[in-house]
């Protein structure tokens, strides 16, 4: 069996993982990255929109600064975020964007002079200043007060991912692809690496390290309908959770996007609605204007998703072999608009649906999009529960997103958190020595080997992994999707308990040799169902609505009782997660208040509680810059 050593083992080679690795390597430590796919195929490269940083170079970004970015982020989180982390993030983002420029990202730049742009279907003019020519420019995004989203054409994630991976090559960092971590190596107190399955040979390998960072992205794939890549399946969360001592933070915080296409749930941009597209039902009639007379299709992501789901429940969905959906209509926007402003949507329709959106309707439905939930860390990125274990990026609940993530803030988080947490890991590594206990290592490997053999031999049963996975996905779609209520959640928990039982009795149909995918699926099914149960149980307990967590039976945001973060532990041999709670934030720069959009009532927090925690800030309590 192969054993690899390094100072830092990074599990996941998306933007967050590679940024962490670069920081360690630049400081003279040996860093190794693992990934299921070649690094550049990580989901980070799928992000097209851009990443937020308050550079304030472009005309519509004039007057922007980290304080305003901080305010937007806290409001966006529906006061569910850790404000110290949001502050750290907003302050560091501009530096990190400039660093990326230095490393090679071809950011779009300010072009001086007059130009036009669209807002709400109307045409406006703007003037870019001569003195800003050639500085990094920005575009507009939902939920932000200023144009703050840095971009490269329509491929920001791709361009940044290329640069980051180039940087890793330059620094000589080993980035191994087709390597999947299947368990952590730990003694209940300290983490010393991971057991890894090679997806070329099927062999197990051991990666030992003084520090381990989990940067495995989101786990959208436990839902049936998701915009996420097929590798976003929770592998990293599962191995952390499986230790029994590392909690998942805010498992109930899952974001849904209104317009994933059917059948493959590929995302079509919010821009379609922004530019005047409408949503139609089975009778090809509009409905959003009935539910939200004011904003109609332009209400926030969560609100639109909620009404779409409601409308389908009323029997107004379109039936298809892939389940029910609604229609997105952009026909009236015309050929010119579609082939220029919505080119990417045009291409998606062409390649994946064989539909011409100039003349035909686009089948859409709300779809899982982002996991604010994640491995709970402190503000240094250090995971709760195990020394030497860190996490960054979408995999982590570092917690700057709270209960709703703003567009453009997660790609920025990957590099900003990667840099900050990478530096903290460097501090940790300096002068730190650990011992690799051969017994601990052997036991970890033996345990995985036994699991594999049991699955192949069908020792615990012969249930089909794909059927069990379907049952879990359906249960989440039914009970833990856009809408949540007590009855639905109770049913969901009950179903999932049954599913968990089945997950323990899965066995392979194939023989499992070599790069077998059925085995990969079978190895993580139990962990996935546990994650699903954490979501359902935490959502059942949280009797309020905050951000993406919508309780029909508790529509108000309840700061009095729920200004806290859920921590979901899974003790060894338990049948259900153990939930506990911690304060959302140690300090308030902005005391809880109205977000300014989305409506809803708020049950206020105890005044004394808020006062005690409110700190001096460049931002005033109304949530504006002083």
């Amino acid at each position: 069996m192969q054993t690899h050593y390094s100072d830092l083992l990074v599990i996941g080679a998306g933007l967050a993982g590679e940024r962490v690795a670069c920081e360690a390597a630049q400081n003279g430590f040996k860093a190794t990255c693992l990934s299921i796919v070649p690094a550049r195929r990580s989901h980070s490269s799928a992000a097209q929109g851009g990443m937020q940083a308050a550079l304030g170079n472009c005309a519509k970004g004039d007057g922007d600064c980290p304080d305003v970015h901080f305010i937007d982020t806290v409001k966006g989180s529906d006061w569910g975020c850790d404000q110290e982390v949001a502050r750290l993030f907003a302050d560091t983002a501009p530096i990190e964007m400039r660093r990326l420029a230095h490393w090679g990202v071809p950011w779009n730049r300010v072009v001086p002079g007059k130009s036009t742009f669209f807002k709400g279907g109307e045409k406006f003019e703007k003037y870019e200043k001569d003195e800003n020519e050639g500085l990094i420019t920005a575009r507009s995004f939902g939920g932000t007060a200023k144009w703050r989203t840095c971009y490269t054409s329509d491929g920001t994630g791709h361009a940044v991912m290329c640069t980051m991976d180039n940087r890793c090559a330059e620094l000589g960092i080993d980035v191994f692809d087709k390597k999947e971590a299947v368990s952590l190596i730990h003694d209940g107190e300290t983490c010393t690496g991971a057991v890894v399955r090679c997806l070329r040979t099927g062999e197990l390998e051991v990666f030992l390290a003084k520090a381990t960072a989990i940067c495995t992205g989101g786990f959208g794939r436990i839902y049936k309908a998701t915009t996420n890549a097929v590798i976003c399946d929770g592998g990293g969360h599962i191995i952390a959770h499986d230790t029994g001592v590392v909690p998942i933070g805010n498992p109930e915080a899952i974001q849904f996007h209104p317009t994933g296409i059917v059948p493959t749930d590929i995302l079509v941009t919010e821009g379609c609605r922004g530019d005047g597209g409408t949503l139609l039902d089975v009778n090809e009639e509009r409905f959003m204007n009935i539910y939200e007379p004011d904003k109609a299709e332009l209400a926030s992501r969560d609100v639109v998703s909620r009404w779409m789901t409601h409308h389908m429940r009323q029997g107004k969905g379109v039936k298809s072999p892939y389940g029910e959906h609604l229609w997105l209509d952009i026909r009236h926007l015309g050929n010119e608009h579609i082939s220029t402003k919505l080119r990417e949507v045009d291409e998606i329709c062409h390649h994946f649906l064989g539909v011409d959106p100039r003349h035909e309707l686009i089948p859409v439905r709300p779809t899982q999009h982002y996991t604010m939930a994640g491995i709970r860390t402190d503000k240094d990125g250090s995971a709760y529960g195990l020394k030497g274990l860190f996490s960054a990026g979408e995999a982590a609940c570092w917690d700057m997103h709270g209960f709703n993530r703003l567009g453009g803030n997660s790609l920025a988080e990957t590099v900003v958190a990667g840099g900050i947490i990478g530096a903290k890991i460097v501090e940790f590594l300096k002068g730190y020595e650990t011992t690799f206990n051969t017994q601990t290592i052997n036991q970890a490997v033996i345990k995985q080997r036994e699991r594999i053999e049991n699955l192949i031999r069908g020792k615990n049963g012969r249930l089909n992994v794909y059927e069990v996975r379907n049952e879990m996905q359906e249960a989440l779609m039914k009970g833990c999707f856009v809408f949540r209520n007590q009855q639905g959640l109770e049913e969901c928990v009950e179903t999932l308990q049954g599913t968990l039982d089945k997950a323990k009795r899965v066995g392979l149909v194939s023989d499992g040799t070599g790069p077998n995918y059925e085995l990969a699926a079978a190895l993580k099914i139990k962990g996935q169902v546990r994650l699903a149960l954490c979501i359902a149980q935490a959502a059942l307990q949280r009797t309020e609505s905050r951000g993406s967590h919508n309780r029909e039976d508790y529509p108000e945001r309840n700061d009095k009782d729920w200004l806290n973060r859920t921590l979901a532990y899974w003790p060894e041999n338990a049948d259900m997660p153990e939930l506990s709670y911690e304060d959302t934030t140690a300090k308030f720069e902005i005391p809880p208040g109205d977000r300014g959009y989305g409506g809803g009532t708020i049950i206020p927090a105890d005044e004394g509680y808020v006062r005690d925690r409110t700190v001096e800030s460049p931002v005033n309590e109304l949530g504006t810059k002083k």
């Binding site: 400039r98 071809p106 730049r109 491929g155 097929v230 059948p263 298809s320 994946f352 064989g354």
Partner: protein, 245 residues
């Protein structure tokens, strides 16, 4: 009822003792908007869990799913079955090392390519976190991005006659990568530095200019233009080098 699609799929698991390469036939009913992503996953989940193939984004943006579809390299996730005949033949990409069935090892090939081309900005400047960013012309930024759109699917490499004959041939993707740095003002390498890397038969002079690479590139990258651009540039550099001696 939809068509009964017949799939002829290349099978070989190099990790399995005694396994031999062969074609295997599967039948699947076509549904509306079916892509090869949907079809292959259904085959694996409903009929044969031992099937090996790669998908990641399933949206035509990551390059994981390239394979030879009815004789032509392309992305399986954005191939609709309705555009194919009732019989669909699938092979793994040639040139790359076979992982199993339809999956090949593009990761190692491309990582070696980064090392050969030194695929990063070479600069003597250091980053100053307190300073404003260096300025760049927007048109130049867009030009760089156009060359950086390669998703490393490997289609061009596997369609290339030279790459099939000569293992060391860098292929269009690598030459395109060089072109990306040539146009980047931040990269301080000179023409003769680039010549060191690609001014030989494994690089620009091995290319037969038959265009197969550009024909199959799913991102529509202007590979031929870049090859021409580099060939001219390298030709001039070669002449300069000769006279210098």
């Amino acid at each position: 009822m939809g068509r009964q699609l017949e799939f002829e799929i290349f099978r070989f698991n190099p990790q399995k003792q005694g396994d031999v390469p062969r074609m295997q036939t599967y039948v699947l009913e076509e549904t509306t908007n079916m892509t090869l992503f949907i079809a292959l996953n259904r085959l694996r989940e409903e009929q044969d869990p031992s099937l090996v193939f790669d998908f990641c984004c399933r949206a035509g943006i990551c390059g994981a799913c390239a394979m030879v579809i009815n004789g032509r390299p392309g992305l399986a996730c954005q191939t609709k079955t309705k555009d194919q005949p009732g019989k669909i033949t699938l092979h793994p990409l040639p040139v790359f090392k076979l992982v199993g069935d339809l999956a090949v090892d593009t990761g190692v090939w491309f990582r070696e390519m980064y090392d050969k081309t030194e695929s990063w900005v070479h600069t003597s400047r250091t980053f100053d976190p307190a300073a404003q960013e260096e300025r760049m012309d927007n048109a130049v930024a867009e030009q760089i991005y156009e060359l950086e759109r390669c998703i490393e699917c490997g289609c061009c490499v596997s369609a290339c006659g030279t790459a099939r004959l000569r293992e060391d041939f860098m292929g269009a993707a690598a030459l395109n990568r060089i072109a990306r740095f040539v146009v980047d003002p931040r990269d301080q390498r000179t023409d003769s530095d680039y010549f060191e890397i690609i001014g030989n038969d494994n690089g620009i002079f091995g290319c037969m200019g038959l265009l197969a690479c550009e024909d199959v590139c799913p991102k529509g990258l202007p590979l031929q233009n870049q090859l021409g651009f580099l060939r001219r540039k390298m030709g001039i550099t070669a002449i300069k080098e000769i006279f210098r001696k």
